[in-house]
Every structure is written in structure tokens, then in C-alpha cells.
């Protein structure tokens, strides 16, 4: 019998410093095929595990991580050539089939961008896809991950809208929470699928704004964050309203979420 809790050992191939507390790790790809929005359980040996979204399209395995506690701090000490453990891929990701030929509206804050990133790349590869628009909010310009990459994507036809909560001198971009840029950048679009990932309050206000603009609940998808220990529907930590966020989600459609007998955001 296969053991779902047993990680596979993989080498860290490349590390990129994104911001003072966010790094991107490219690791060996040994797990089964993954789709956008899925995640892995990452082990730092001697410390423990943490759930991390896969921020690349298959077959690449790229993880973008914010330093926040014991596992992520220890991960930041590792160098290229060191090993970590991974198991997965887990969860139900973004509705990629539904997205075909439709417009994509992506909304994120903080480290909510990594799980959305593979959607952007799958759209660049697919000539039949509709337009792609990203609204991304960070605390300060220095907290913005993938800054250089976002500029390149803008040149490739992706509509990139960024904003920061507070800004030092010299920032020429938007200031304010993500809903401010959403208000300007997003218009009612019956042919769009909206996908968001970020802090619960942000998603609450962002989905309300989308509904006010005339989007319907079945056009809005949300990736939930929950405490997760196992990733496979066993440990119970991620359970919400009878669903296992790790297995039935983390991506849910807004109307599905609202039917559940518990507050989800």
C-alpha cells in the first residue's frame, strides 16, 4: 500500500531572492503531473512540513515561499544543491477546462500570486485563450514578488495592474488596497472567470466588489488558506463546513462556499 505521508527527497536546483522575505525555489520534479492551483507538502529536514503552492506549470516544480515561521525560516537557510522533501500534488486547483476561450481575471495579495502564476503561463501557450488580467497588491514595492517577470508579461499582452499599501519615495505606481485598482481595471464581463487568492479580508471585499460590478457567483473562484497538516483529507485541520479544503479545494466556487454551513472567509 502506498504511504500518502511519505515525502520524496528532491534537490534544490536554483534559488532566487524575490524580496527581503520571499524566495523562489526551483526543485527537482519527481511528483506526478500537477495542474495550476495544486500544492505540495514541503519538508525541511529536521524541522517539519508546510503546505506550499506549486507556482509553475508541469513538469517544472517551482515554489515561492514567504519566510514566516519555523519551517520557512529553516528553508531560507538552505542553498542550491541541498535537499528537501516533497509529497503531492494535492488538492483541486483552478477550473482550467472552464477557462478555455474565456477571459481570465486574477486577483491576489501577498503570497497569493504563486498559485495563480501557472495560469498565466498556460494562457501564453494557448493561442485560443481570451484576455488575461492580473490585479496584484503588496505591502510595499519591495514586497512585490516577480517584479521583473511581471514587466515582461505585460509586454506579452497580459494586463498587469499592481498596487501597494504604503510606498516610499520614487514609486510611480498605484497606492491603495487591491480593490482600488480592481475598481478601475475590471469591467463587467460575462465571458470572464475570476480567480483570487490572498488574505481572507481581501477576498471578502474583492468578491463583494465583483458582485457589485455585476459578476455572478458562479464566475468567481477562491483559493482558501487553512491550517493543513496532511494534505490528503485525514488530519482534519483544514475541515470547513464538511469539506476538506486540502482535498475538495483549496479552490472553491463562490456559490459552493456560500452553501456550506460555516463561515469560510
Amino acid at each position: 500500500m502506498e504511504d500518502p505521508y511519505l515525502p520524496k527527497k528532491v534537490k534544490i536546483l536554483k534559488i532566487m531572492q524575490e524580496t527581503s522575505d520571499i524566495k523562489t525555489f526551483v526543485v527537482e520534479s519527481v511528483l506526478p503531473e500537477h495542474s495550476p492551483g495544486q500544492f505540495v507538502e514541503l519538508t525541511v529536514f529536521g524541522v517539519g512540513e508546510a503546505p506550499i503552492s506549486i507556482s509553475s506549470s508541469y513538469p517544472a516544480m517551482v515554489l515561492t515561499v514567504k519566510k514566516i515561521g519555523s519551517v520557512t525560516n529553516a528553508l531560507f537557510e538552505l542553498k542550491e544543491g541541498d535537499y528537501v522533501g516533497v509529497r503531492g500534488p494535492y488538492g483541486r486547483g483552478w477550473p482550467m477546462k472552464e477557462l478555455k476561450r474565456r477571459n481570465a481575471i486574477l486577483i491576489c495579495g501577498g503570497v497569493g500570486l504563486p498559485p495563480l502564476r501557472p495560469i498565466i503561463y498556460s494562457r501564453l501557450l494557448d493561442k485560443d485563450s481570451g484576455s488575461t488580467l492580473l490585479c496584484y497588491g503588496a505591502r510595499t514595492p519591495d514586497d512585490m514578488a516577480y517584479r521583473g517577470e511581471l514587466e515582461k508579461l505585460a509586454k506579452q499582452g497580459i494586463s498587469i495592474n499592481t498596487t501597494v499599501d504604503t510606498c516610499p519615495m520614487g514609486w510611480k505606481g498605484n497606492v491603495g488596497v487591491v480593490t482600488c485598482i480592481m475598481d478601475r481595471a475590471i469591467k463587467k464581463d460575462e465571458n470572464a472567470v475570476c480567480m483570487m487568492c490572498g488574505p481572507p479580508v481581501m477576498m471578502k471585499f474583492a468578491s463583494k466588489m465583483l458582485l457589485d460590478k455585476g459578476f455572478t457567483k458562479d464566475q468567481i473562484y477562491i483559493s482558501l488558506e487553512r491550517m493543513m497538516k496532511c494534505g490528503v483529507g485525514k488530519c482534519g485541520h483544514c475541515m470547513a463546513g464538511g469539506k476538506y479544503v486540502c482535498k475538495d479545494g483549496p479552490v472553491f466556487r463562490l456559490d459552493e462556499l456560500e452553501k456550506l454551513p460555516e463561515r469560510m472567509l
Binding site: E2, T43, C230, V232, K234, H237
Partner: protein
């Protein structure tokens, strides 16, 4: 049907203990629980249920899943062994049926299932329920899934096999006799009754206000299976243990994420998760309730929260 006289029970236990670790119900310092059998143990049988279930023998309070070295080479830490669990009651057989379903659901949990596969279940039918039992209201009074069932009579036990393993015990031990008669003993009904209402009609605030969130209920409940996975570096040998320990939905940390936000911190919400998981959530997925009406959480609750009343909308 077979029979075994009461005075031959010690001989049967001796016989069983040759086949592996024998686990029996006993009572010490006012608490009843399952333990490894030692000669001369006085068994706690025929008197309602044990205070603690046999859950820990399949899903231990703390278990080491793996050891691994600095290079990240993992080694399985399970040491499978044959066990005979003697004296388990019908409600706890139902509890095992529930946890079997849960841990067999894909992806299956090999750590639990391996222990389960290696355990022979010798059940004792329940004639006298404990003061907080309500298993018959939930249809969990009739034994299921046992290898052998003993049914108490005044001077002897009836024995009926539920599996090939059980049949073999009847034949090979040489302690049982065939009979054409059948059990006559009356089962006393549970004193407590429950008739589950829709979750929206349960008085969450009323009961939630009483709750101390002490997690005693989830730890005594035979069907609670939530866990943490933690790594602990061993002082000797430079190895790390990956441990699995029980967790409870009555702790704030259970649902807290980065930034310290906890999704369920109010007590009525915690209580609602406990009860909804036991009833609508589990039933929707597996077709049966997760709660088996063993009454242990009622006995354990210092705030006198009574799940049989709560689920009935009282």
C-alpha cells in the same frame, strides 16, 4: 452456536495470549480501560462500557511514523505485531467500523490499516448499558465486524464466529462446545434516548456557552481521528522522528494560519464542528453517523454538555 463455561475463561485467555499481544478491559483507580493482559488480571466485562475506548491500539495518542537522517532518508518506524483485542463492546465495534471507513477512504492510511489488519476482535455483547449510553437510538447496539462474539449467560457464554479467524479459534482452542440452543438473555435498553434533528435546529449558543473547550470529549471519543504531524530531532544519533499525535478541533491552534488568524475560535463554533462532523458531514460522505452513542463524551464533560440532548434539539 458454541458455548464456553465461565470457569474456562482464564484458560481461553491463556490460549489467546499465545497468538500475540492480548488486550483486555480492566479497571484501576476507578477508571476502566484496555490494557496488555497479565496473568491474574480481573477483567472489566458486562458492566457498561470502558471509560476509555480501544482507539489507542489502532491510532495511538503518539506514534512515530518514520525516522529519517540528516540527508533526508526516511525509514518506516512501524513494527507490526499480532494482537487480540478481547472484550470490546458493540458500540466500539461500530466505532471501529467508522474509523475503518475513514482511514480506508482514498488515499488509505497504511499506519492505521496495518494495525487493524493484525488485530483479532473478540467482542462481548452488551446486556447492561452505562449511564450515558444511547447507542440503541442510533442503531449501533448490534455487534458488527467481530471475529468472535461472546454472549453472556448466567453460567456460561455463548460464542458465535463472525469470520474464518473466529471459527478457527472455536475449533482449535478445544474449549468450546457446540449447542443448538440460542441466547435467552434480555438486553436492557439504554436509559438515554436521542432523536437527531437538523443541524439548524440545534441550540449551539446554549450549549456552546457552557463549553470550556478542554478537548476531553475528542480525546475519549472512539471515532475522533484528527492529528498533528510534527518532527522531533533525537538527541542521540542525529535522527529525526516524524511523529503523529492526536489533535482536537476544540483548540484554537487547530485552525490557525499565518498571521495568527484562527478560523474557529468561538466555543459555539467549535462545538458545532464537533457535532456536525459526527452527524451530517460524516453521514453525507459515508452513509452512517460517526457518533456511535457510547456516551463517553457526556461522562467526560465537566460542563455537563450532553450530546444526546444537544442533537435532539433540546
Amino acid at each position: 452456536m458454541h458455548t464456553i463455561p465461565r470457569e474456562k475463561l482464564p484458560a481461553f485467555l491463556e490460549y489467546l495470549s499465545k497468538g500475540g499481544e492480548l488486550i483486555v478491559p480492566a479497571k484501576k483507580d476507578g477508571l476502566s480501560f484496555f490494557k496488555s493482559y497479565e496473568k491474574g488480571d480481573r477483567l472489566y466485562l458486562e458492566k457498561g462500557n470502558t471509560d476509555y475506548s480501544a482507539k489507542q491500539f489502532f491510532f495511538p495518542y503518539k506514534e512515530v511514523l518514520y525516522h529519517y537522517d540528516k540527508e533526508g532518508n526516511f525509514e518506516n518506524a512501524q513494527e507490526p505485531r499480532e494482537r487480540i483485542l478481547f472484550g470490546i463492546r458493540p458500540c466500539d465495534l461500530h466505532a471501529l467500523a467508522v474509523t475503518d471507513m475513514f482511514f480506508s477512504d482514498e488515499p488509505a492510511d497504511p499506519h492505521y490499516l496495518e494495525r487493524r489488519k493484525r488485530t483479532t476482535l473478540i467482542a462481548i455483547d452488551c446486556t447492561t448499558p452505562g449511564k450515558n449510553c444511547f447507542c440503541d437510538s442510533l442503531g449501533k447496539r448490534d455487534p458488527i465486524g467481530h471475529d468472535l462474539l461472546l454472549i453472556p449467560e448466567k453460567k456460561f457464554f455463548y460464542a458465535s464466529a463472525g469470520s474464518e479467524k473466529g471459527k478457527k479459534l472455536l475449533e482449535d482452542s478445544g474449549l468450546f462446545e457446540k449447542t443448538s440452543e440460542s441466547p435467552s438473555i434480555k438486553k436492557i435498553p439504554c436509559k438515554k434516548k436521542a432523536s437527531p434533528v437538523d443541524s439548524s435546529r440545534v441550540k449551539w449558543e446554549k450549549w456552546g456557552k457552557l463549553c470550556f473547550a478542554c478537548a476531553a470529549c475528542t480525546s475519549v471519543c472512539p471515532t475522533c481521528t484528527c492529528f498533528d504531524i510534527e518532527d522531533e530531532i533525537q538527541l542521540k544519533g542525529g535522527k529525526t522522528e516524524r511523529q503523529r499525535t492526536w489533535a482536537s478541533c476544540f483548540t484554537k491552534d487547530f485552525t490557525s494560519v499565518a498571521g495568527g488568524h484562527s478560523f474557529r475560535s468561538a466555543r459555539p463554533e467549535m462545538l458545532k464542528q464537533f457535532v456536525n462532523h459526527k452527524f451530517p458531514y460524516f453521514k453525507e460522505k459515508f452513509g452512517v453517523t460517526m457518533c456511535v452513542g457510547c456516551g463517553r463524551c457526556v461522562t467526560a464533560c465537566t460542563a455537563k454538555i450532553d450530546i444526546s440532548k444537544m442533537i435532539s434539539g433540546k
